[in-house]
């Protein structure tokens, strides 16, 4: 079988799983279930990275998003005073119609644009695998300044979050 066919089939399967779980994230009545579906969705994103020959990014996606960000979300859930762990009755949201409409318009417009664009694409067979060393090369040569700015951003986020989350004892 051609590699491009394999890639296409795998893409279809991953996308189907991703779309279903993403829909379940927003429709699940139990917020903990929503988080678990989010994990599935994030795993599928890692699958995309693998299909695009960037397996280091797939590993990072799983490490950071599934391994760390979801943990943060779960902690956030546990901290809230809401009745976590049970299905919450949803009130009828009045903006729902508008939300659906806006999303559909955005989806329609964006997909029309993406499908009708001539992209500078290369077939899979001619692509090169993005190895970790290649990423290291770009990170430490071309993008070394953004790399350092990232750590400033992380520092600001860290300190800001501590300011907001610290309990004021008085």
């Amino acid at each position: 079988m051609e590699i491009s066919t394999v890639q296409l089939v795998a893409f279809g399967i991953v996308t189907a799983i991703m779309l279903i779980s993403a829909l379940l994230v927003v429709t699940a009545r139990n917020i903990v279930h929503a988080v678990f579906f989010l994990i599935v969705t994030l795993f599928c994103v890692a699958g995309y990275f693998i299909l695009l020959l960037a397996d280091f990014l797939a590993a990072v996606q799983i490490l950071i998003y599934v391994g760390a960000v979801v943990v943060l979300i779960v902690f956030g859930l546990i901290l809230t005073r809401a009745r976590v762990g049970q299905a919450i009755p949803m009130e009828e949201v009045r903006q729902r119609l508008w939300a659906v409409l806006v999303s559909l318009v955005f989806f329609g417009g964006a997909s029309y644009a993406l499908l009708n664009e001539k992209w500078p694409v290369v077939s899979v067979e001619k692509m090169e695998v993005t190895t970790t060393s290649k990423i290291a090369d770009t990170l430490f040569n071309t993008y070394v300044l953004p790399f350092q700015v990232t750590s400033v951003l992380l520092l600001a986020g860290l300190i800001g979050a501590i300011v907001l989350a610290m309990r004021e004892e008085k």
Binding site: G109, A110, Y112, A113, L114, N116, E117, K118, W119, P120, N141, T142, Y143, V144, L145, P146, V149, T150, V152, L153, A156, G157, I159, G160, A161, V163, L164, E168
Partner: protein, 472 residues
């Protein structure tokens, strides 16, 4: 690799860390004053560091970071602006005893983000600079943790801000997909080589990018956060949002569109045209019914964003330098107006316009300066706002945007109504006669802003020459 180009940024960052750690390890009795003065020392030192930076365009880190006239202008501008905001904050942050070091740290980081934005020459740098500008602002808005309005403001700002960042990233990713490059200059040359006909994906990208920056500059229809956030945030932070953060957004918009997408000028100027029209009209019309001074200034900021966008939509050489003059005028009158609002809010415990009652008699200095700022915001001579509007409108008429200029003049006349409402309150309404004390540092800032507001109109040549030098 030209590390000296980044010297001002390095100084600002070092001082931000120093402020943070001094506040951690040294308990002194006047933390706000000490830490604030330290921050100002850092900012002034950073301005001094520009001596080592060559005036001609130089790049560092493989073209990631560029030090041309434009970036020089805005980096110095942002440093001065940050110094003014810190000076104001010193007087008004005394009540936040616990996290003062963090406050000044985050403020300096916002300044750092704005400076990096002015020098960013790469999509990734623009995005990081925007995040550096936004992330600390979210926290600063919610700094009054016990005030539910501050919490609400922070939450609204954060949620919409994250959405805007996502849209911006989406637009950037489309541009990267089309060109395979993140460098702005590189993108421009790739687009030029491809023949210049814009595909539908580029259109989506342009709209997404404008939406992302439109949030930061509070342009209609991306302005919904601004009145609530301006009202709920501590006023020292509101000044920051109305000036540093907003102009930072404009700078990012400028760099991305003028440097990376000059070939598609006729497309993005049309989108900005709509934004300019909506911002001017909506901002001025809704401002008429406002009773809260901070909300009024929020809507006035939206309207002024619209006037600035006129220059973006015309996009000629003249409109580019005249918008820089507009920024100068806007900064001084806005910081001044907010400073007066802060002093009054502190003395009378309310930011309603009615709290200004009789201010002209109980504190003539504040009354006169506030009148100056209001008249300048309308765009009346002999104040800075007049010069700003004059040059922008003139360049717009020459650039063929007569319609926008007519709308701008009509909305300026409308704005006369709500700015005069403030002046009327100061002079023609009897207040409780209670004295409004002006803290020394705020006095200095207000006086400085008032002087510059007049000076820009009296000697416009000096300022236009700076703006011209920055663009050419």
């Amino acid at each position: 690799m030209n590390l000296n180009l980044l010297l001002p940024e390095i100084i600002v960052f070092s001082f931000s860390l120093m402020v943070l750690f001094v506040s951690l390890f040294w308990n002194n009795r006047k933390p706000s004053l000490t830490l604030g003065l330290m921050s100002i020392a850092g900012l002034l030192l950073a301005i001094g560091a520009f001596v080592v930076i060559p005036r001609v365009g130089a790049t560092a880190f493989g073209g990631m970071f560029v030090a041309d006239g434009f970036s020089l202008f805005f980096r110095v501008l942002f440093l001065n602006l940050a110094a003014m905001i810190v000076l104001l904050a010193i007087d008004f942050m005394r009540e936040f005893q616990r996290h003062l070091g963090e406050f000044y740290f985050l403020l300096l980081i916002v300044a750092l983000g704005a400076m990096l934005m002015s020098s960013a020459n790469d999509l990734i740098m623009i995005f990081l600079a925007l995040e550096l500008l936004s992330l600390p602002s979210y926290i600063l808005v919610g700094f009054a943790k016990r005030d539910p309005r501050s919490n609400e403001a922070a939450l609204k700002y954060f949620l919409l801000g994250v959405l805007a960042s996502a849209m911006l990233l989406y637009g950037m990713s489309l541009i990267f997909g089309l060109t395979g490059s993140t460098g702005l200059v590189d993108i421009a040359s790739k687009f030029e080589a491809s023949g210049g006909s814009a595909g539908p994906a580029l259109l989506v990208a342009i709209i997404m990018i404008i939406a992302g920056f439109g949030f930061k500059i509070a342009a209609v229809p991306f302005h919904f956060w601004s009145p609530d956030t301006y009202e709920g945030a501590p006023t020292s932070v509101t000044v920051l949002l109305a000036t540093l953060s907003m102009i930072g957004g404009f700078v990012g918009l400028y760099r991305l569109f003028f440097i990376a997408l000059p070939d598609y000028l006729d497309i993005w100027t049309k989108v900005i045209f709509i934004l300019a029209f909506l911002s001017m009209t909506m901002g001025s019309l809704i401002a008429m019914s406002q009773d809260n001074l901070k909300r009024l200034l929020a809507y006035s900021g939206i309207a002024h964003g619209g006037y600035i966008l006129i220059a973006f939509s015309v996009a000629t050489f003249d409109s580019q330098w005249s918008v820089l003059v507009y920024f100068l005028a806007y900064i001084f009158m806005t910081v001044g107006a907010f400073a007066v609002a802060m002093v009054v809010e502190r003395a009378r415990g309310s930011s309603e316009i009615s709290a200004l009652g009789g201010l002209g008699y109980s504190n003539p200095f504040l009354g006169v300066t506030m009148t100056i700022f209001m008249m300048s915001l309308v765009g009346l001579p002999p104040f800075a706002g007049f010069i700003g509007k004059l040059y922008v409108f003139k360049s717009a008429v020459e650039g063929g945007a007569l319609f926008l200029v007519l709308v701008a003049i009509v909305t300026s006349v409308i704005s006369l109504y709500f700015y005069l409402k403030v002046v009327r309150q100061i002079y023609f309404v009897k207040g409780d006669g209670e004295a409004v004390p002006t803290p020394n540092l705020s006095f200095a800032v207000i006086a400085l802003c008032a002087i510059y507001t007049i000076l820009i109109c009296l000697y416009p040549v000096f300022f236009t020459r700076i703006a011209l030098a920055a663009i050419s």
